[in-house]
Amino acid sequence: MDTLKVRDAADVEQVVRSAIASKQPLEIIGHGSKRQVGQPMATNALLDLSALNAVTSYEPNELIVTVQAGAPIADVLSLIDSKNQQFAFEPMNTAALLGTPEIGTIGGMIGAGLAGPRRIKAGGVRDHLLGAHAVSGFGDSFKAGGKVVKNVTGYDLCKLLAGSWGTLAVMTEVTLKVMPRPESECTLVLRGLDDLTANRAMTAALGSPFDVSGAAHLPDSALRASADGLTSFGSQQAVTLLRLEGIAASVAHRAAVLGKALAQFGTAETVDDAASAAIWVSVRDVRPFAADGIFGARPVWRIVCPPAAGGALGQQLSRDTGGEVIYDWGGGLIWAALPSRPDALAALLRQRVNAAGGHATLLRAPEEVRRNVDVFHPQQAGLAALGERVRHSFDPKRILNRGRMRRDSST
């Protein structure tokens, strides 16, 4: 397979135009850290963006950073960290879950659209992508959005690019919003709650005025896997985790009053700063289901559902399948590691998820499983057709990541 290492947007245009002329679909990669996600693709050339790796500009006082799409995430994170800033959506690092090296580019981060625990408060990747330059499946460079936070000029094409898994356009440069990093953080830990009770505790916390920025629940059985940041909890009891962030005095105050408000759920312990941060990295990256851990061979589903329905859904799924679940977003995000089956138990899982009003993506599974299963949630016919027309409006010849998001068009 050809790997075409582009040097600039003009190269990308040329590659896409050549691909149109020769009818060769392209697989778009940065570092390739998430190539195992999605339906297996029928492409025979790689468009490699990793050389488009410059930071174009970083303006801390404007709260924006503009980088080329192939810029390594790690470099950009450490750059903004040097000014005490962060991406508030807490991008997931998929290395542990997918078993890849510690790699990944900003373009891949946006294309995957996988936000971490703070999504419940700060929004997702889509809420922080302010502007982009990209090459469509027409082979044309276009601009979307701008470099300012407040902008309603024309359609908000950036929203579509986030989470589109490279199927609409090849981003070449993006502008992202950055936010101040909180001065301190604290995690309240409640122990021994079952999934339903934990869901209620998280709902109470998120419905309080105490500005909870993370709400996760790890059942004891999921804690059997050894995971950095979580080992101190042991695996005897489930833990329900509630994060508070901000200036130290405020965090301490809120921890005290929130703890009291949740007294009916038990006495909350507190974990501060570095240890707290380590917990949330582990939750964000779904470390208990890491590829090198005891659940590493299982398929992993990412389920998004109404938060207050999460406890019942997760409990039912683990009971019916013998799988393990982890809850984030106050119950609105469930990671499920189900026993290995040729269909990853897709039919059963989706039936339960649909009933709860959610949707599920098979984020990790062997290629032969992904070939037989809808990796992304099947949609109602009208919505699916509209989505397909939207895709067609960017890439009518299906040149870009052909078939990655839809099984029926993958061959």
Partner: protein, 497 residues
């Protein structure tokens, strides 16, 4: 009217009576309005310089009726202009002479309040403020707060991606919407998103929000609600130079503080507001900042101190901190009344809405001052300084021949200046008809073509709200053509590995 709208379809106009009758068969009783007198209130929206009676007004009250009306119009090739409360400041709901004006004013019911999932499911005609009021008993509110919130509808907020003074911290409409039911021009009803924190598939909610009524008609909305902050306090800070005020804004953000709101007014705006509401604003300053911090009391008190220190370091000549709700509201009163206050000192004014990088504020103000001299028209400036969103109010008198055109030219120059400084044409009011012809100043033809292709995915005949947003309309077939470049040799000059 100085902007060209698409030519009226005479064949449609000739069939007006039959069209009215067909619409009456779908929406019975008073839901179809066709007398010139009764249609008058629909002739314009918040951009009142532009007026156009529609061919007919339809006010359906069910999704099924909306669907049938749209399908009828689609089958008959009739243009449709959707309208919420009609408060658009960019002419988004300006009717077409040969178009059906589809009003959503009867969709007035809040369908579900769900405190556990922190959301409200509502019909689109409910006002922005009514949502906050409906959930206040649970300690919640809906965060985006456009200044028209008492009147503007949530459906209109979706169409315009409305902002407000608090969107610096809490985001715009797009950041606070979870899902919708939308009716396409074909009459097809589609549900997007819902109670889950994230939609699946492509983020169509993100594209519908801010699409200015060009993609579909929203008949139900699910919005996120937030817990009201424990407390809020405001500072009123005056500066002898605009530059110092701009520096203060940058330093506050640079210190890692995101205020709930950070507003700036220049001298003419301060004087107009003070004369109108007597908020106690200093009259001897060139720039005034109103900065609000919200959250737990202990946090607000600490951050207020930090902001005060930054303001003093930047050379503020006056820095007052609110010590009561009454005082906080007084600080805001002048800012909130700035538009009507300016309305008192000038027969007419045009409200502009560009966004610039925060750091370019002093430059932008200097350019606006120069333009004011060049055009011989006064200007008062009100900004959402925290996010660089400018609202210059251009003062003019429509009764003087040529002055409105001059004011519009002045406004267009200000927006071009915003783009030159690295900003955009509109921060929260939308493109509509008002800024339509400036789009090429910000976007290339390729950029605009890609946006119009997306429009084609929703409305291939271009029947929904034509004449808004895009200066030039292309046929979808023409836009969809893929040009095959060069020969058959793939990737000739790209390094291979």
């Amino acid at each position: 009217m100085t902007i060209m709208m698409p030519a009226s379809d005479q064949a449609v106009l000739a069939r007006r009576e039959a069209i009215v009758a067909a619409l009456r068969a779908i929406v019975p009783g008073e839901g179809v309005i066709d007398s010139p007198a009764e249609m008058m209130p629909y002739e314009s929206d918040g951009l009142m310089a532009y007026r156009q009676p529609p061919m007919v007004v339809v006010l359906p009250d069910t999704t099924e009726q909306v669907s049938k009306v749209l399908k009828y119009c689609f089958d008959e090739g009739i243009k449709v202009v959707p309208r919420g409360s009609g408060t658009s400041l960019s002419g988004g709901a300006l009717p077409l002479a040969d178009g059906v004006l589809l009003g959503l004013g009867k969709f007035k019911r809040i369908r579900q309040i769900d405190f556990d999932n922190r959301l409200v499911v509502t019909e689109p005609g409910v006002t922005n403020l009514a949502i906050s009021q409906a959930v206040a008993h649970g300690g919640f509110y809906y965060a985006p707060d456009p200044s028209s919130q008492i009147a503007c509808s949530i459906g209109g907020n979706i169409a315009e991606n409305s902002g407000g003074v608090h969107c610096l911290k809490y985001g715009m409409t797009t950041n606070n919407v979870l899902g919708c039911e939308i009716v396409l021009i074909t009459g097809e009803v589609i549900r997007i998103g819902g109670k889950s924190p994230e939609t699946d598939g492509y983020d169509l909610m993100g594209i519908i929000t801010g699409s200015e009524g060009l993609l579909g008609v929203v008949t139900e909305v699910t919005v996120r609600i937030l817990q009201k902050p424990e407390t809020a306090r405001a500072l009123m800070v005056g500066f002898a130079q605009v530059e110092a005020a701009g520096q203060c804004v940058a330093d506050i953000i640079g210190a890692g503080i995101i205020p709930a709101g950070m507003e700036m007014m220049d001298k003419p705006a301060i004087h107009a507001a003070e004369a109108f509401v007597h908020a106690g604003y200093p009259l001897d300053v060139e720039a005034l900042l109103i900065i609000e911090i919200d959250g737990p009391g202990i946090e607000v008190d600490e951050l207020i101190k930090r902001v005060e220190a930054i303001a003093l370091r930047c050379g503020s000549t006056i820095c007052q901190i609110s010590n009561s709700e009454q005082e906080r509201n007084l600080f805001w009163a002048g800012r909130k009344a700035a538009f009507p206050a300016v309305g008192r000192i000038s027969p007419d004014y045009l409200c502009m809405d560009g966004t610039i990088p925060r750091g370019a504020l002093p430059q932008a103000l200097a350019r606006i001052r120069d333009l004011s001299e060049k055009y011989g028209l006064g200007v008062a400036n009100v900004f959402h300084a925290g996010d660089g969103n400018l609202h210059p109010l251009i003062l003019y008198d429509a009764n003087r021949p040529g002055e409105m055109a001059k004011a519009e030219a002045f406004g267009a120059d200000i927006l071009r200046c915003c783009v030159e400084l690295g900003g955009v044409l509109t921060g929260e009011h939308g493109v509509g008809v008002e800024k339509r012809d400036l789009m090429p100043d910000m976007f290339s033809e390729i950029d605009l073509n890609q946006q119009q292709r997306l429009k084609c995915a929703f409305d291939a005949q271009g029947l929904l709200n034509p004449g808004k947003v895009f200066p030039t309309l292309h046929r979808c077939a023409e836009l969809g053509r893929v040009h095959v470049h060069g020969g058959r040799l793939a990737f000739p000059d790209i390094p291979r590995f």
